[in-house]
């Protein structure tokens, strides 16, 4: 475990800052086949997510999850559990919008949230402050902030898998060598 990195606000913010531009470079202007296709139905019979859905989900997190939870910890500690994260908010939020509008909206909200985080001027002692997750129980502020960054990465991981899925047949026998085509869909 010694080789794993401890939380640092600078390191977490370095990832959080880069995600909007990463998604923009990857997705803006792509043909619809990459943007609107998903991985079919899940084993529970639900529609899996397209790239468009994933960006909508990231927007919902910016609006209702990450910074609101930071504030709950700072204001209420463990006394008040976080509101549950609505994992399906994006179907309402994204309706009638283009991918380009969603990318712009995500970039704007992320920049606002990182500015608000900076304005809190958190000190090393603050990162151990505790809050209460409705399902996971006691968590710390540093765990919340680390999760915000890894949540970006889990959806980048999903996004590359959803896109690759569209060429599952097109690659022919090379599918044996392409690990992304063997991912069990753990980050749906």
């Amino acid at each position: 475990m010694a080789s794993l990195t401890e939380f640092s606000l600078t390191d977490a913010v370095a990832v959080l800052t880069r995600t909007p531009a990463t998604l923009n470079a990857l997705l803006r202007g792509l043909p619809d086949t990459w943007v609107l296709s998903n991985e079919g139905r899940s084993s529970e019979g639900k529609d899996t997510w397209s790239a468009f859905d994933i960006v909508g989900h990231l927007i919902a997190g910016e609006r209702t999850d990450w910074m609101p939870r930071v504030r709950v910890i700072l204001e209420h500690g463990e006394a008040r559990a976080f509101d549950p994260f609505d994992r399906f908010a994006q179907s309402r939020e994204s309706q009638g919008k283009s991918l380009e509008q969603l990318l712009d909206e995500f970039a704007r909200l992320r920049a606002e949230n990182l500015a608000a985080l900076q304005a809190l001027n958190l000190q090393p002692d603050d990162f151990a402050r505790r809050g209460r997750h409705p399902a996971l129980g006691v968590v710390t502020l540093s765990e919340l902030l680390a999760t915000w960054a890894v949540h970006d990465l889990t959806h980048l991981h999903q996004l590359s898998r959803v896109m690759a899925h569209q060429y599952r047949n097109a690659v022919g026998p090379w599918s044996a060598y392409l690990g992304v085509l063997h991912c069990a869909g753990h980050s749906a």
Copy 2:
């Protein structure tokens, strides 16, 4: 299978064109902890790859794999097998270079290769032309080009996983919800 996309040169090139800018947005200027850390030793005791190693591997592919194999198909068909892909070329290629130099080099080589691909002026009939992979046997030109694009995506998938791994402990109990932390490392 009907929902999967058939190969189209335009769609494949749309992905291939975007990868250098995507990696640039994700990686340039990131703290070393994200760029130089890997996932530890593999089950065979080998070092796994860092973000730095992955960019080096993509450079090696541009130099020795993708377009050289396109040319082998067009010039020799099945008569000449492709040269095997050296999956460890990057340790020599990248030595003494900075991540920023590698990102620039990858962007330059990719742009040159896509210009060379364009200059071939491939026609629909060409995509069924056959070549011979040293291990997989007969493959087609469209399979090779689709694989080039999905190879980018498999390494983006790996990259997000390698980065997320560094915060495996920092996220605390949230690890249960973060699919990227449950990926079995199939795209090493």
